[in-house]
Structure formats: C-alpha cells, structure tokens
C-alpha cells in the first residue's frame, strides 16, 4: 500500500527573480518502508519535508498521505491532520520543559481526549519499545540528548501515525546516541511497521534506512536500495554522496 505519494511537486520562491527549490519531484513510499532523504545543503530536502509535513504549501503538484490530500485542508483542520496522521521527530527534540518526559509522550493522546487508562496502556507499550520506562517521571533537562530523542520518538509514534517524519534526528547527538536512536528507528520500523521518512546528513544514520533518495538542485538525483548488509549500503551511500559533489564539505 502506498503511504505517501508525491507527484510533480514544485516549489519556487521570489517574485521578480524566481528561485526554484523543488522541480517536479515525484516519488512514493510504501507502507512499512524506512526511507532516507539526503542531499547537500540547499538541495531542497528540507523544503520537501516541510511540504510533506503540511507546514509549507507547494507551488504546484500533489501530496497524498494514505490516499488523503492534506493540502485541501487549512488552519486548524490541518493541525488536526498533523496531530492524527503524522508523527514528528526534530533535530532539537522539541519537548516541553514544563512537562515530564512521560507527559510529553502522551501529549498527543491527551489533546485528542483519549481516556487516561488507554493513555497509560499505550505509554507503557511505547516506553518499553524505546527503553525509556525508567525516565518517564524525569524532566527534560535531567536526561541526555539521546534519551530526549527517544522520548520524542515515543511521542511521535504513540498515536500510531500513518507516516513518521524525522528531520535530522541524529543531528544533535553524539555517535553512540545516534547509533541507539537509529537502531530504534529500525526497530519500530520492523516491529511496529511504522512508515518513516527521514531527512539526514549523516551517512551512518542513513545506512539504517531501506532506501535512500538523493536530491540535488530540487530534483531527484539518484535512488538506492539497501542490499543484504548495512556495511555495504553505507559504502554505497558514501559513493553517491561523493558523486553528488559537495559531500566532502558536508561532513
């Protein structure tokens, strides 16, 4: 089943001098996929993510998430769509520091008026998957970046979104924490069938994906699938990045 379908998506900025951030991009993500999007700075990958996140409007083209076109919605309806159909993981976690980690995780459920018992049940489940059970009563400043990101992932998947979107989820983490977080992405993808699209700079993080889309100058440059080993996939990613140019400047 197609979870995400992007067709002929374009975005241009400016009035007199047009700058085209995306040029007629089309691709789709099947249910259960873990897709990485890579590309040099300015390639348009963040613009793409923003449009799929419904926080930015394309100039032309269509987006379908589980067959629905969120761009036909507006205002609060769009916010509700994001709340129910999408899950977000950000580079800087975006957890509320007035809440405990546990409260942060259940926030989407509480906002939707899910009964407390059900909230507890689901919290226990995701906390177990992400290994944050012992952290639930802690506050955001009491935990490490990796732990905060795991909490953010828990928040992003607790309401079983159609699509999980991650924006540089390992960007603020050290290599060890990055590895743990990526293993969790892989785990929830495999065990919970969470369809994920992730924008990243980090080839090591990207190597946990099933498929990588490379974007350059607003168009899809290349697409590679993971074979049998992650090690080999990593090497492939490095190769494409060096072909893409600018890769050496990126990391």
């Amino acid at each position: 089943m197609e979870m995400l379908k992007v067709s002929q998506l374009s975005k241009s900025y400016g009035k007199q001098v047009m700058f085209s951030a995306l040029n007629h991009i089309s691709f789709s993500i099947e249910a259960g996929e873990l897709v990485g999007v890579m590309g040099p700075s300015g390639s348009g990958k963040t613009t793409l993510l923003n449009m799929i996140s419904t926080v930015d409007q394309p100039t032309s083209g269509e987006i379908y998430i589980e067959g629905n076109n969120p761009l036909s919605l507006n205002g609060d309806k769009l916010a509700l769509f994001r709340r129910r159909e999408l899950g977000f993981v950000f580079q800087d976690f975006n957890l509320l520091d007035t809440l405990t980690l546990g409260e942060n995780v259940i926030l989407p459920l509480a906002l939707d008026g899910v009964p407390v018992k059900e909230q507890d049940r689901r919290l226990t489940k995701v906390a177990n998957i992400l290994g944050i059970k012992h952290l639930l009563s802690k506050r955001t400043f009491e935990v490490s970046g990796g732990e905060a990101q795991r909490t953010a992932i828990a928040r992003a998947i607790i309401h079983k979104p159609a699509l999980l979107l991650a924006d540089e989820p390992t960007g603020n983490l050290d290599s060890n924490a990055s590895r743990i977080v990526m293993e969790l992405f892989e785990k929830i993808n495999q065990e919970e069938q969470v369809t994920t699209m992730m924008v990243t700079h980090d080839p090591l993080a990207a190597s946990y994906c099933n498929r990588i889309l490379f974007i350059k100058d607003g168009s899809i440059y290349n697409e590679i699938y993971k074979g049998s080993s992650r090690q080999q996939f990593y090497q492939q990613i490095i190769d494409v990045l060096s072909l893409l140019g600018g890769a050496s400047r990126e990391f």
Binding site: L78, N94, E103, A110, L111
Partner: protein, 618 residues
C-alpha cells in the same frame, strides 16, 4: 564612535525593545506628577492636619511603590537582553563598561520618560478632573500650571533613575550571562510548595476573617493591626505556596490533568504561579487597600450627604445672638434675594420659650400655630391641641424621655402624642408643642428664628453667597443655608475621595503594566513553543483556549483575592459603624473589575495575534 555614542545609538536604533520599559517609566511619572500636582494644588482647601499628613505619607508610599515598579520593569527588560550582553562580554567589554552603558541608556530613557510623563500628566489630570466632576457631581479643583510639581517630579525621577542604575549591578549576573553564552542556562526547577505553609496560609486567612467578623467597636482598635498582619502574611503564602500546592493537587488528579489542553495550561501555571507570586501579592494587597479606602470614603460621602435632610430640615434659618441692630434689614435682604432668585419660598417665624417647672426641669415650648406652619412645610401631620395637652417632638429616638405630665404656669398638662421629627436646624433635644393660648401666657424670653423654606433648595446657595458678601461682618447674625452646607461638605469629602480614587488608580495602572510587561517578555518564548506544538498538531483553537484560561487566572486571581479581602473588611466596617457600604463597595470593585476585564481582553487579543503570526500557513 565613543562609548557614550554607542549607548545612545543602542537606544535610538532599537526603540522597540526599549519601548515597554519607557512606557512603564512614563506611566509612573505621569501618575506621580498628577498626584503631586493635586497635593500642591493652591485651591484644594485646608484639610484637617491628619489628612494633610496622610496625603504626604501617601505621596511617599506612592514614590516607593513606583520605585519598585520601575526597578522591576528594568530588571525584566535587562534580563531579556542577556544575549546582547553576552556578545559584549565575548568581545571583551568589562562589567563596569556594561553598567556604564546601562546607566547612559537609562538616563536617556528616564529623561525622555519624565518629559513625556509630565506632558501626559498635564493632559491626563485635566481629563481626570472632568471625569470626577461628571461622576460625582462635585465642584472639581480648577486647573493650574504646576511649576512646583514639575520640579519635584523631575528631581524625584532623575534621582530614581540614578538609584535604579546603581542597583542594576545586582540584576546583571555575570555567571548567568556566561551560562547563556555557553548554552548551559539552568533549567527551571519544579517548585516545591511547602504543605505546612500552604495550610498555614489557609488557616491564617480563615482565622483573620473570623476575628474580623466577630469584632466589635470596643476591640476593633486592638485587633485591626493583628488582622491586617495576618491577612498580609496569609496572602503572601496564598500565592507563593497555596496556589502552587493547589495546582500540584490538580496535577495529581490524572483524570482531570490528562484531559485535552488541561495538561498544557496546568503545567504552565504550575511554574508561572510561583514566578509571579510576589507580583500577585503586591497587586492583591495594594488593590485591597485601594478598594477599602475608596469604599469607605465613598460611603462616608454618600452617608453625610444622604442625611442632610435630617440634619437641616429647613432651607434657611436666621438667628440672632445678643443685640442685633440690623436684623430686620437682613431679613428683608434675604427675602429680597429669594424673590430675585425666583425661588418659591415660605417664610416662617419660629418662636419658642423656655420654662422651668417646680422640679427644676426645663422645657422648650412651641406654639401650636408655629408648629403647624412647619409641619405643613415638612410634610408632617398638623396638630390640634387643647389647653391641657402637649405633643412631644423628639429630634431622634435617643432624646426620648418618660415624661408624660408636667405643670406649666400652674396648669397641669398631659403628653398626648410623641412625634419623632426634626423640625428645626438646631433642635437638639425635645420640643413640646402647646396651645397658643397657653404659650402666650408664659412670661419668658422668646427665642426667635426666621426660617425660609424652599422645597427645591439645591441652587439656593447663591442667596447665601449674596448674604455673605454683604453681612459677613455682623457677628450677631447666624445665617444657615442647607444648600451652602451641602456644597461645602460635598467638595470637602469629594476631594478626599478623589485623592483616594487617584491612589487606587496608581496601583491599578502600575499593577496592570506589571502584568503587561510580564506577558510581553514571555510572548517571545511562547511564540517558539506554540510554533513547535502547532507543528505537531496543536490547533490555534486549542492555543486560544489555553491562553484564555492561563491568562484569565493570572489576570483575575489577584483581583478576586483583593475583592474578597475588601468585602470582608468593608462588611465589618458596615456592621460596626453602621454605615451603608454595600453599594459603594460594589460600585468601586465592580468598576475596577470591569477595567481589569477589558485590560485582559485587550492583552489576550494582542498576545494571540502575536502567536498567530508565528504559526504555520492557514
């Protein structure tokens, strides 16, 4: 560019950032100036010395309050600039230089604010005078150009600015700035309310209310200070401990806490309550003081003017003391003036005689025909009295006696009726109305009063003014005019009330801007927070609901507490002094609450606009 120029450019090129601080200083100056202007008003009249003293005391308290307010504003303002200071530190500015920079900026703002404030004050006071005049129908003070007040205000605020600048070295903490630079800003720890203090505050408050409710006129003086201290302490802990304790309790109630947006606003309030506890405390206490003083003043004003009919039943009376040569001339003059003024009036010559009976009790007697003339004018029942009868007329119940028989000139007389009424201006005790024939028999000096009764007396003070201009020098004539007395009392009480309303306004406006400042500093962090939450699906409608509840509580709570405090205090005054304060207090508290509500609606709207601009496409 030297350092001074740098500081000046800082202010002139970044006006928006400095505006809030400028505005609060400007408001303080305007209020202080207006108040000083009234205190030094040449026509405000002479007050009793204790009122004069309390006015100056109020001025000093106001100054301290405003000092605190300005100090608070600058500390909030400087804290929002830590990042800027951080950059200055990075490029090697010393703390001394930063303080110097702040001092120069501060002087610049203060001078501008003082000038603006005084100008605003000049306009504002005129408006205020008109408003008071319309609202209370009192002859307001005339406008004057207050050079002395301008000087005092300027000196006071320049001094305040120097002092505040001096204290800023406490506000700016080098350590915090360096932490901010390194990105290791200390997180806000969860407030831990003390259960003991929370209970203490509730108990203290209840006990204080109980004492207040059970007090009486004898022990009032002893308990009043105790109750005040108790309420002040209780209020402080109410905001700093009890409120936090209460929210912690709400958080424990998971069915409530984990439902919809409750999660967000309850957890926000948990921190904001503690952060704002001191400000809330000050707002509550000052508002309580203002409500009580205005309420009491208004009640006294209303009461005094309300019973003028009781105290002065007749529009005019003229009395002579000793030998008065011009009595007829003066009476004619008054008569003439009343005619010229086009007033319809009834002249009555009131005569009474004093007799002492065998038992050395003296009675004041009045002829029935005179009484009936008065009774007709004052809407009392006319009397018809036989030779051996009398009617007892008492000014009030407390002058009652149990005399029901007497002997006058050898005639036994029986009291047939008792009437409680005041029919003469200076009727202190009891009058006995007797038959004309009996009265004429009595041989004693007759006291004569010339009365002029005017039904609609409200403008008759002009007659008094004319009289006073002409015959003021006659020490033997006493001319009383109800209308003149009324006007005099009205303006005397009016001035005091006007000043207490004014002090109330100062507290109100400054505490309003306290909250205003706080919110517009917070809006920067809130924008970021709500933008993120909107991204993960928090709708604007929900943000609106959260804001409405959160702001509503922060805005209204201190006023509600103040209203409860003052209601208790005023009802006690009501009970003990038997003054009707209900309507007055209701009027004052109601209008302040409405103002506060309007202020809340206004700020909430602006705040939501700011947040909405930050949100994603719609």
């Amino acid at each position: 560019m030297n350092f001074k120029q740098f500081a000046i450019k800082n202010v002139t090129r970044n006006g928006k950032a400095y505006f809030a601080y400028f505005l609060s200083t400007c408001i303080s100056v305007a209020l202080f100036f207006t108040f000083t202007m009234f205190i030094l008003h040449p026509d405000k009249g002479a007050f009793k010395s204790y009122i004069e003293v309390s006015l100056y005391a109020a001025e000093i308290i106001t100054y301290f309050f405003l000092f605190f307010f300005v100090f608070y504003s600058i500390s909030v303002f400087l804290k929002s600039r830590y990042k800027e200071f951080g950059i200055l530190y990075m490029i090697g500015t010393s703390k001394k230089q930063i303080l110097k920079m702040i001092f120069i900026e501060n002087m610049l703002i203060s001078i501008a604010a003082t000038v603006c404030g005084i100008l605003t004050g000049l306009v504002f006071s005129k408006l205020f005078l008109i408003m008071i005049e319309k609202l209370f129908r009192i002859q307001a003070l005339p406008y004057y150009f207050p050079i002395k007040a301008i000087l005092i205000t300027s000196v006071a605020f320049i001094l305040l600015c120097v002092l505040v600048s001096f204290f800023t070295s406490w506000i700016i903490k080098e350590k915090d700035i360096l932490h901010l630079l390194k990105g290791t800003i200390a997180p806000r720890l969860a407030p831990k309310p003390s259960v003991l203090l929370a209970i203490l505050s509730a108990v203290l408050l209840l006990v204080a209310y109980y004492i207040s409710f059970t007090s009486n006129i004898e022990n009032l003086e002893k308990i009043i200070l105790l109750v005040m201290v108790m309420v002040v302490i209780a209020t402080f802990f109410l905001f700093s401990q009890f409120s936090v304790f209460f929210i912690a309790f709400l958080k424990k109630n998971r069915l409530f806490y984990l439902k919809h947006t409750n999660l967000i606003w309850v957890s926000n309030l948990f921190y904001r309550m503690k952060d704002n506890a001191r400000v809330f405390f000050i707002i509550s206490i000052t508002s309580t003081a203002a409500f009580i003083s205005i309420g009491t003043c208004y009640a006294f004003w209303d009461n005094t003017l309300g019973n003028i009919e009781e105290r002065y039943p007749l529009a005019f009376t003229y009395q002579t003391i000793g030998e008065n040569l011009t009595v007829h001339e003066e009476i004619n003059f008054i008569d003439q003036q009343l005619k010229e003024g086009g007033f319809s009036y009834t002249p009555i010559t009131i005569a009474n005689k004093s007799v002492t009976d065998a038992e050395e009790i003296s009675y004041t007697l009045m002829k029935m025909s005179v009484y009936n003339q008065l009774a007709e004018q004052l809407d009392l029942r006319t009397a018809s009295i036989q030779e051996h009868e009398t009617i007892k007329v008492m000014a009030s119940a407390e002058f009652g006696n149990d005399i029901n028989r007497m002997t006058i000139e050898g005639n036994p007389i029986r009291v047939t009726e008792e009437i409680q009424a005041k029919i003469m201006q200076d009727q202190a005790s009891t009058l006995y109305v007797v038959a004309d024939t009996l009265y004429d028999l009595i041989e004693s000096d007759e006291g004569i009063q010339y009365a002029f009764h005017v039904e609609d007396w409200s403008d008759t003070y002009v007659v008094y003014d004319e009289y006073e201009a002409k015959y003021e020098s006659n020490p033997n004539g006493i001319f009383l005019s109800k209308s003149h007395i009324f006007e005099t009392e009205k303006s005397a009480y009016g001035t005091i009330m006007f000043l207490s309303i004014f002090i109330g306004m100062i507290f109100f406006v400054t505490s309003g801007s306290f909250i205003y400042n706080k919110f517009f500093i917070d809006v920067e962090t809130d924008k970021k927070k709500y933008k993120q939450l909107n991204k993960v699906g928090l709708t604007f409608k929900e943000i609106k609901r959260i804001t409405t509840i959160e702001m509503g509580i922060l805005f209204m709570l201190p006023y509600i507490v103040a209203c409860i405090h003052s209601s208790v205090a005023l009802s006690t005054l009501n009970r003990i002094f038997e003054i009707e304060v209900g309507t007055a207090a209701f009027l004052i508290m109601g209008s302040f609450l409405i103002l506060q509500l309007l202020f809340y609606v206004f700020i909430r709207r602006n705040y939501l606009i700011e947040i909405k601009n930050e949100l994603i496409i719609d």
